[in-house]
């Protein structure tokens, strides 16, 4: 059975985000083969109602962003609302700089971000992984991509613009 079919069936059957590293290990394939299989799935889905979401660490299936309003009409509960200014800038830092530690986030924002990060984690928009001897590092989740209506962060309209600015800034300054 081709790898792309197997991955697609795992995503559909499990219906929750799947860790890419774990799948690569499970199928005993190279990262290249895995990435190639994801490209095949994405291409196949193009014409349909589903999309493959991808972060640096996870993949998941979800409905296409164009269907947002329609699915909303099928739902009983409303999704939780706005993220606020502090939430938005913290998300931006995690999105453009992941994986990133809390102290780095605090330094960029100039304030203690413990509370806002906890709030974002409760909403499932960011997740933390523990790094040995180095506390926690924060990453974005597929749930954040779902709320932004994008299949991966690079498809944000201004992604490369911001990324370039940040890269230039980080390499030229001490």
């Amino acid at each position: 059975m081709p790898l792309d079919i197997l991955i697609e069936s795992v995503l559909f059957y499990k219906a929750v985000p799947q860790n890419k590293k774990r799948l690569i290990g499970y199928f005993k394939v190279s990262e290249e083969d895995f990435t190639h299989a994801l490209t095949i799935i994405k291409g196949r889905f193009q014409a349909g109602a589903m999309r493959l979401l991808e972060t640096e660490t996870e993949i998941q299936l979800a409905t296409a962003p164009e269907l947002s309003e329609f699915i909303e009409s099928l739902r009983k509960q409303d999704m939780a609302g706005d993220i606020g200014k502090a939430g938005a800038e913290t998300l931006a830092i995690v999105l453009y700089r992941e994986p990133i530690s809390r102290s780095e986030i605090d330094r960029i924002r100039g304030v203690n971000s413990a509370f806002i990060l906890r709030n974002l984690m409760m909403r499932g928009l960011v997740t933390r992984e523990s790094v040995t001897g180095n506390g926690y590092q924060f990453r974005i989740t597929t749930t954040l991509l779902q709320h932004l209506g994008i299949t991966d962060k690079r498809s944000l309209p201004q992604y490369s613009e911001f990324m370039n600015t940040i890269d230039t800034f980080d390499t030229t300054s001490p």
Binding site: P65, S68, A88, I108, G110, V111, A114, Q146, G149, L156
Partner: protein, 242 residues
């Protein structure tokens, strides 16, 4: 002081947020000139925050010291900055520019957030679920797990200001200086500098002098370009009526 437009309703989580807002409101780029321009308004906002006894004012005051340093350099170009002082100014500009990028990126995220949500499958629990207990399904194990949960609850935050060395407030410093100037009638900055041991206080005291100067309470003279700065209370020359 009267020209400063006080920001009344908005609350700022941190000093960077406030500072960016002030610079952008004037459609300025981040540099020493624009920062000098917004210093008064920044000081006013921090003063208002102090009066409302908002939390975290300490970090606003720390940044105020750097801002006033920038401002004083713009008022007195002859002012000789130590390398440490120059570094703190550069560092502030740097941090502010960096913050601005993420703040802008955040605005883009906020405008998209929740507009076109991509939904995962709705979860429906199985009608007749299996029963698959494991090693954790034991009251002692669950007690341990609960203990871990409670241990990880966010600690009721001990006010971060308590941990820091008490930062002197701008008003305190202005008061102290005013009294001293009135006593001595004439003093010089190097004298103040010698009596203040902590670097931060040197900054604050110097800038407080400039504040006094601006308010018309003292006269500053500098004999030659790199000479000492002399301070004089102008009360003797122009009596004030209260």
């Amino acid at each position: 002081m009267s020209t400063a437009v006080a920001i009344k309703t908005e609350t700022f989580e941190g000093p960077m947020e406030l500072l960016i807002e002030l610079v952008e409101k004037r459609k300025l780029l981040i540099n020493d000139i624009s920062l000098a321009k917004v210093t008064d308004e920044y000081m006013q906002t921090v003063r208002d925050m102090q009066e409302m006894s908002l939390p975290n004012t300490a970090q606003f005051i720390t940044l105020a010291a750097t801002l006033l340093l920038i401002k004083s350099k713009s008022l007195l170009p002859a002012l000789d900055l130590t390398s440490e002082e120059s570094a703190s100014i550069e560092d502030l500009e740097e941090r502010l520019k960096r913050y601005q990028i993420y703040r802008d990126a955040g605005i883009e995220l906020q405008s998209r957030f929740g507009k076109n949500i991509m939904y995962e499958s709705e979860y429906t629990p199985p009608r007749d679920p299996l029963f698959l207990p494991d090693i954790f399904c034991d009251s002692a194990e669950l007690g341990t797990a609960m203990y871990r949960v409670l241990n990880n609850l966010p600690k009721i935050e001990i006010k971060p200001t308590a941990k820091l060395r008490p930062t002197i407030s701008l008003e305190e410093m202005i008061d102290r200086l005013q009294k001293r100037i009135e006593q001595q009638l004439q003093t010089s900055f190097s004298e103040i500098r010698a009596t203040e041991t902590e670097h931060k206080n040197v900054i604050v005291s110097f800038l407080a002098i400039l504040e006094l100067f601006k308010m018309g309470n003292i006269i500053i003279t500098q004999a030659d370009r790199f000479g000492d700065i002399n301070l004089e209370s102008d009360r003797v020359h122009t009596p004030r009526y209260y």
